[in-house]
Symmetry: C2
Subunit: 562 residues, 2 copies
Amino acid sequence: MEKKKENGLVLDGKQSGRVINGPTNPMVTPLLNDLYQFTMAYAYWKAGKQSERSVFDLYFRKNPFGGEYTIFAGLEECIKFLANFNLTDQEIDFVRDSLPGCEEAFCDYLRGLDCSDIEVYAISEGSVVFPKVPLLRIEGPVAVVQLLETPFLNLINYASLVATNAARHRFVAGKSKLLLEFGARRAQGPDGAISASKYCYLGGFDATSNVAAGRLFGIPLRGTHSHAFVSSFMGLDEIVDKVLRSSDGKSTCEDFVCLVQSCLTKIQNSSSLQGIFSETNQSELAAFISYALAFPNSFLALVDTYDVMKSGIPNFCAVALALNELGYKAVGIRLDSGDLAYLSTEVRKFFCAMERDLKVLDFGKMIITASNDLNEETVDALNKQGHEVDAFGIGTNLVTCYAQAALGCVFKLVEINNQPRIKLSEDVTKVSIPCKKRTYRLFGKEGYPLVDIMTGENEPPPKVGERLLCRHPFNESKRAYVVPQRVEELLKCYWRGNADEAREELEPLKELRNRCIKQLENMRPDHMRRLNPTPYKVSVSAKLYDFIHFLWLNEAPVGELH
Amino acid sequence: MEKKKENGLVLDGKQSGRVINGPTNPMVTPLLNDLYQFTMAYAYWKAGKQSERSVFDLYFRKNPFGGEYTIFAGLEECIKFLANFNLTDQEIDFVRDSLPGCEEAFCDYLRGLDCSDIEVYAISEGSVVFPKVPLLRIEGPVAVVQLLETPFLNLINYASLVATNAARHRFVAGKSKLLLEFGARRAQGPDGAISASKYCYLGGFDATSNVAAGRLFGIPLRGTHSHAFVSSFMGLDEIVDKVLRSSDGKSTCEDFVCLVQSCLTKIQNSSSLQGIFSETNQSELAAFISYALAFPNSFLALVDTYDVMKSGIPNFCAVALALNELGYKAVGIRLDSGDLAYLSTEVRKFFCAMERDLKVLDFGKMIITASNDLNEETVDALNKQGHEVDAFGIGTNLVTCYAQAALGCVFKLVEINNQPRIKLSEDVTKVSIPCKKRTYRLFGKEGYPLVDIMTGENEPPPKVGERLLCRHPFNESKRAYVVPQRVEELLKCYWRGNADEAREELEPLKELRNRCIKQLENMRPDHMRRLNPTPYKVSVSAKLYDFIHFLWLNEAPVGELH
């Protein structure tokens, strides 16, 4: 195994001649595991069962956020985990000390463990996915597969949840808006922040403020300044170096402060703005000027430290105009409080009035960014009220998935030693679908996906143009014939132990993001709407249906009505 | 700086002769930051303001979970961040490339940055804390302090939130119950899982199932097995090695399976249990026997894979009895579904009946563990219904803080160059309390804390037995005289740059946990109750009150009614 380390981050892991690219989180070791995965491994080993070939499905039971779709994410991290799976001697010592009565020979067993006997089939990361359909099918020695359960669930649950949350925010904001993830400070821990940035980008966000995530994953970075920056200035006399070269480098403004002040007067006297504001806050103006002197090419100011319309906007416009005179173009403003619909509309009017009155090309088109505790609902409410916001900066609600903080993926045994296993429950939604399965997505004439179907491993695949009976796995009366116009097999092999052939390559984050955006665009609109969306259908083949119910009967306790 | 690395985790960081103990999360670098902290640092630097002495307060505005208290956690991680603060050349290159027009000299400035000019005063970690009172006061060069904002908020927000959540679960479960954190699979990312385990322990949990957290922080580990373990067995013939030595090592049972079967028959025939169950599930029995053979000293079984009362409990009891005959003591069971109040009561009756009928000492006292999507409300509901649960395993709702997934700590400039700064807002709860402050907790006759008070840095401290006017910071009419029986200064110095003297030592996690438990016990009960708790009072001195309102008037925009 070759590794390049920097700051503790493994930047490349190599396994059996294949390089697994991208950063690996060093917290993700085999000890990131529930103790009982190790106690079970030990019990399997003691019973001589540790190598029995098992098949587990990883899936979820319910879409999050009251919606009818989920974005699958976290697969790459799982594959990297497999590639880097090994227990150090110190870790093995710790496991031994944690298992009462643990025999030394078990430690030798752990020492030799790797994932060369594991096969993982998965839906492509970034896909739109649905309840009950396996996101991953994991095959291998039962003791080893059980050691993957907790890390895989950990790596997929949050990744998929936050990617879905991001996709939902994108849906409500619309394609044309810029979506910025601003969550680092409120995320659930440092890695929560970094994962959030990664998977929000995958789910359709445009950029993040998180520098570490930008660096690790190549996500575009955005950010302006905070209120503290504005408050840290007392007045214009603090600005010592007032010189600014023009954008083309051909001339030099010796006193940018003076230029800004003259622009402010121009604004005050402009025909349509007369009397709208009087004196602006001078420490705010000093802060804006300083920021513009540092970033003349990308000036974006937070305008609500004092009063948006009476101070922030006039101050910003004065600086923007002065920059304009030197050939620069200001980017825009950010609003972080107040009535965002009203303020954004007023700000746009102000910008447009300036473009008209002062003849500054494109001044009316400057970017208005809104932040301040935004979420799906508030963006939706803004849309209904009408607003002029171009970019949304979304933090807390997005990254902590405030509306629903967890996705409940489970990891269920469906076959061992070629014997199918079913987990029954009084709650029918918790009954597992047994057998090693194949899964397909069937597409209709309009190109929309119609239904996902699970079949036994050895059933012939659905054929284009051929009528196929799709059954609800547990409800006898729910069934439909479908004639697919296109059939896509969902589970592909992403890990096949040491065998290198025929394994899907991990794709760059940007590709996953493109897949996500494309698949979402291709969904039938009624599955996507926020209010009462139509559930997407998930089915089993007639043969699998019969088999499930045959097993169910056999497993149910005597005399019980399950 | 001396560092010992293992698996990418820095286990010891040393700074200026002081060892900062314990593991450091390698994801926590200065790049775990919002881009705008760097753009501001650059703008400060361009304006020549980078070294201006600033004071920032870190505090929250509202207690989480509808409660009236919060547990402060995350301090140790902040101090470690300071001790390890440095930007690598690659990181600096990345920052340069992310800042448009960044001058090379700024990179030199970044290269020389450390936290030797920073002072941090903080409330002791594990303390009960309240809104508006600074948890940390951070002093130092403004550009450096701003680079601490996002990492500190990230490290404290979730830590304090989840510790508070744990404390609330402890409160409702009561002192006598065992509380186990089972959240690794549902936590928000790998580090979310590890932080959750750490801070749930701090907040009063007894153990975790998370092996990595157990190892990193010395938290007791607990865990049993999963449904998959039970499902993986087909029948008793799978058990090959049936030998079990007795607990004292003096005798050997050659066929433990046979012994269990005879115990099962005994149970079936025992006077008070006759007819309660008939045939138990044999694959479940096989799984239990295998687990007991692996862990005869700590046998704890999950009993709800098939049917708790008809299969799981009789099977468990048969194995427990057989173990008992060999001198071992089974630990108990876990219930992971169904009506936990009813089932736990029925299970207890069953255990007690067995103790009575079969004369097995303490059999009735075996531990009943409950899991399955538990939270504050469900534990409270169980208490109201009456139950026999001894231990709660709590996962998703605990670690993701499902009821409220974020705490909103903020980081506000309160002074720069010895000038006080106030951040106004139309929303009075968002107005910051200016000035470098001291804070005290005043205790009454009964020993309860009465009120927290903030004063200016140079005001004389409150004195025991002396009448003191405590004012609401923003509401003129809210004021009260208090005669403290004890006064505790809250902010202590935890970081003083390179100066080693007079700095608080970081305490072991167990000490923080003890502080948390002790302080919670010492709160007046009406602040703690779940329904409509009384808010704890947070106040300012008369002098600080006057100063806040003097500044407020001066800062408010002309003609505005704030």
